[in-house]
Symmetry: C4
Subunit: 208 residues, 4 copies
């Protein structure tokens, strides 16, 4: 599906990219509820008990909802600094969204492993690996756009670029460490993922 | 995933927030149909009979569709009074959407309990609890934005703010009472939820 | 969830309504593919044979995709004549979308009945009933907006309004007749639904 | 559902068409993750082993995500050359989206066939057939819009039109050949589909 050549010069439609990205993020975040299943309690077990037993599904729903919500907010804040797009940047964003859209799968994996009490380390590594990939993609998107101020709006200061670069660089290291903690204890690792989701939620952690 | 600092001052892009919220609400409302399942009638039973037997699925679909539709309309009306957003407000909205996106689950739970004739009280409490959470989140969103006129457009009168605050405050009390009625009779409680969904639908209940 | 009163006068934001409606229609149309399932052929049966056996799934997918696509185009054309919205009109649209979002269910029902060769009349009546409901809702939306030119743009002529009213009135009668033909033959009825979907697709049937 | 006649002349709302198309593409791309299922390893098998065993699901997810992402970018680039829409063009786009939204099904088919090691040729033919249909629809959309410069913006040169026509024409032939290679070896055919998805991803393949 080759590209129409005469479109070569037009690179400034950031808004359709934002709409598409927002659409994908809105869908990924809403699909999370599909993995909270209606339980069918066996005989002698009440629905209340069955619902309580699947607490990991609710915790996983809430954590990943916050995570994708925070990613959306940050994508949103980052894009305010961009003035335009180009072909490779659209593709970089597709890769970003590919990692993001995958989140419901490791989320369901962790929720399931917590319930059947098996394979929790493996599930946590998958979850953490996806979070790590997400943090890497934030760097890729940012560095592609910021290199030589390629796609930035003119008013962004050099210092702001340097600060941005520093702050995104922190993500992959943090998530890699939390992920590797799963070898010590998957519960510790998962608690830290949930704690960071709650932490980013706090007003004081943002720029507001 | 830390925020890009130099975006600190830009707080006025309400429109991307609306698009994202509308996307999530549009998806949550459309996913409801996934819980209306094609029945596979056993031998000796007709498809018509099997379809009639799953009437709770249709009632649950219609009720929750109206509920989410009304929430969308109200979110829409409320946001007309806002001039801008900021970081904590984006997060408050993520929490609002987290409760909203959960609605398909207790909806399916109630529809299922009505069909298997078991666990209806528990299912109703889950449904009512979600509705209560929704009404609480309406207050949180409103109060955050209205406090010291933080995010409001300049033309909103003090009296209008006070009226808004009074009207939202009413919601959690109403939904808590209806939810607790499930201890008397889940059918009464569910009927009231459906009745209120129909009531808000009426032109006279709105500002038109 | 009562409405914020001071929003009473602002009734002109048609665009957020269009975005929400487009979102719901885009999701409903895309969910149709979820009912085309990967077959698991039994021993001695090839995948090719199993795929051929489920031809009703493909036919149902294509027909309902065209139907929702045509509904979207018509909703789109109709809304060009509207200048504003109000509270009851938002609610009328929620009802419109409630019928539309239901389409994947009777679609799956018909596809299933064609494959198991049972319950086809019942499934066709459900499908036709939904189409009939859709055509009724087109009239409700149009008549609400056109009454006393309530929501119309100023430039629409009286004659154009009368033509619109006549053309929408035709829909429910047509779909009711096709639906009732299922009592004679479900195959005839379904063929007519597919034929009309193809017919509306033709350039000559539109205003272009 | 006949069209409102007086809308006949208004043909310039390209933006609602883009929003609808972007919505459908965003949903189709995000639904792909629903076919990556949580495995339930049997006794004596670890979760890690079960996850490794379903590698075709991840490969299929990544390939089809890139494919739909690239289709979105190209749709996006093509639409920059269009100034308006008309009724038949809306319908042509519905057909385009009908093929695109189908992609999750052959994707799941191939992933499944790779895991059960049966029916891979048939599954590959279905996948390739869908890709071929996609490339055909790119031509249909382009040729409809470009014929007599029907829907193009004024500034597009004759030479650019000719180049566009030549480049789109290439797609169906390419995808037909790759599809037919499945008769020699489905693995070869699938590898080429994945390779082309990666190739189009490269900056050098685009107009940037």
């Amino acid at each position: 599906m080759p590209d129409e050549p005469s479109a070569r010069e037009q690179t400034s439609d950031k808004s359709r990219l934002e709409t598409f990205s927002d659409g994908v993020m809105a869908i990924a975040i809403t699909l999370l509820v599909l993995d909270v299943r209606v339980p069918h309690p066996g005989s002698g077990q009440s629905l209340g008990h069955a619902l309580a037993h699947q607490w990991p599904s609710y915790a996983a729903y809430a954590t990943s909802f916050l995570v994708i919500g925070i990613i959306w907010v940050n994508h949103h804040q980052m894009f305010k600094l961009f003035a335009k797009t180009n072909y490779p940047f659209l593709m970089v964003n597709v890769l970003f969204l590919m990692v993001l859209s995958f989140i419901p799968f490791p989320t369901a994996l962790v929720a399931d492993a917590l319930q059947v009490r098996e394979g929790l380390r493996t599930a946590t590594l998958m979850y953490g690996g996806t979070m790590f990939g997400m943090a890497v993609m934030f760097n890729v998107v940012w560095l592609y756009a910021a290199k030589d101020r390629r796609l930035l709006v003119g008013s962004v200061s050099d210092e702001a670029i340097a600060r941005g670069t520093r702050s995104y660089r922190f993500g992959p290291i943090l998530y890699l460490v939390i992920t590797l903690l799963a070898f010590l204890s998957p519960y510790l690792s998962l608690s830290l993922f949930a704690a960071f989701a709650l932490y980013w939620l706090l007003p004081s952690s943002g720029p507001g």
